[in-house]
């Protein structure tokens, strides 16, 4: 794990079009972006695409990076926006509900890394069990605050929402999840 100073040095190099430095940045943050994208979209291939989109946008807008914020916050902002847009487009597309994605991709990839594929499969089912009816905004706020464990101020910076908006989205998301849990418990 690099410290903030090393990251700033890499950013300076990237601004001079140094792709090797950018590769190091990608290696440092790809797991963070993939984790967020996977938790939001619950699909491995979609999450990989989101990682690509995010880092291309990072490369193109490095000059706009404000050093007052941590680099990870900035990456979260871009990744959050990219995934949020994708969630919205999936929500509005006739065939693309989140449940559709999960069920369509349950089949395991080739024989290798069976255990890892099973982990991803289990995780996507676990997430979708209670969150597939959340709105993209609720899902984003819930993932950032509850799962990623970010501070409200950071979620504010990432989503551009006010603290009140974040709290209300979080409240609605938790309420929705609890309703689902209640239903499940009652059915048992």
């Amino acid at each position: 794990m690099m410290n903030e100073r090393e990251i700033q040095i890499l950013i300076d190099k990237c601004k001079k079009q140094d792709t090797a430095a950018f590769a190091a940045l990608v290696a440092e943050y790809r797991q963070l972006v993939f984790r967020l994208a996977f938790r939001l979209l619950c699909d491995e291939e979609e999450a990989r695409d989101m990682v690509q989109e995010t880092f291309v946008k990072v490369w193109l807008s490095l000059d706009k990076y404000n050093r007052e914020y941590r680099f990870s916050t900035w990456i979260y902002t871009i990744a959050g926006n990219v995934c949020y847009d994708r969630l919205r487009s999936l929500q509005h597309s006739p065939s693309g509900s989140m449940q559709g994605i999960s069920l369509a991709n349950i089949s395991l990839s080739s024989g290798e890394d069976m255990e890892q594929s099973l982990i991803n499969k289990e995780l996507k089912e676990l997430i979708l069990r209670f969150t597939h009816e959340l709105t993209p905004k609720q899902k984003l706020v819930f993932m950032l605050r509850e799962i990623e464990g970010l501070e409200v101020s950071e979620v504010e910076a990432i989503t551009g929402m006010s603290a009140e908006k974040i709290k209300s989205n979080l409240y609605l998301a938790r309420k929705q999840i609890r309703i689902k849990i209640n239903l499940m418990e009652d059915n048992l």
Binding site: R30, F38, R39, W59, I119, L123, I181
Partner: protein
């Protein structure tokens, strides 16, 4: 803590602690770098930049000029539409003599008439000059 609360906490904890597995991370990094390499260069040519800057400045000047012409020098009501003879005099292409002119008039009469016209023209010209100078001074006063 109720059973339902417990289930919620357990569910949350499971998601938090389970890290999704990223298959072939190096391949993903290479894909990203390939996409970056394929992007058009971020630095457009200097000449293009220079030309766009100059045309931008020129357009701004033109716009300012048009605005100033419209706002500061609106069409002057003082100089109303004049008869065609007078306009012709201003345009310097008049035949000078009116239509009802007696063709048998003497040369002296013609000369007198034309000299009066000329004097009128010069008077009008100096009046316009004074007016424009006063306008110019007032604009300069506004600017300074």
């Amino acid at each position: 803590m109720t059973k339902k609360e417990d289930t919620y906490e357990q569910w949350l904890e499971k998601i938090k602690t389970t890290e999704p597995f990223l298959d072939n991370p190096e391949e993903l990094t290479n894909d990203i770098l390939n996409r970056i390499d394929a992007l058009p260069s971020g630095n457009p040519s200097r000449i293009l930049l220079l030309v766009s800057r100059i045309s931008g400045i020129a357009a701004a000047f033109l716009l300012c000029f048009l605005i100033s012409e419209t706002v500061l020098f609106p069409q002057d009501k003082q100089f109303t539409e004049q008869p065609s003879t007078a306009n012709a005099v201003w345009q310097g292409k008049a035949s000078f003599l009116p239509d009802d002119w007696n063709t048998e008039s003497s040369f002296l009469e013609k000369s007198r008439y034309l000299s009066e016209q000329w004097k009128e023209y010069k008077k009008e010209l100096s009046k316009r000059k004074t007016f424009f100078l006063s306008k110019k001074n007032s604009v300069e006063n506004i600017i300074h």
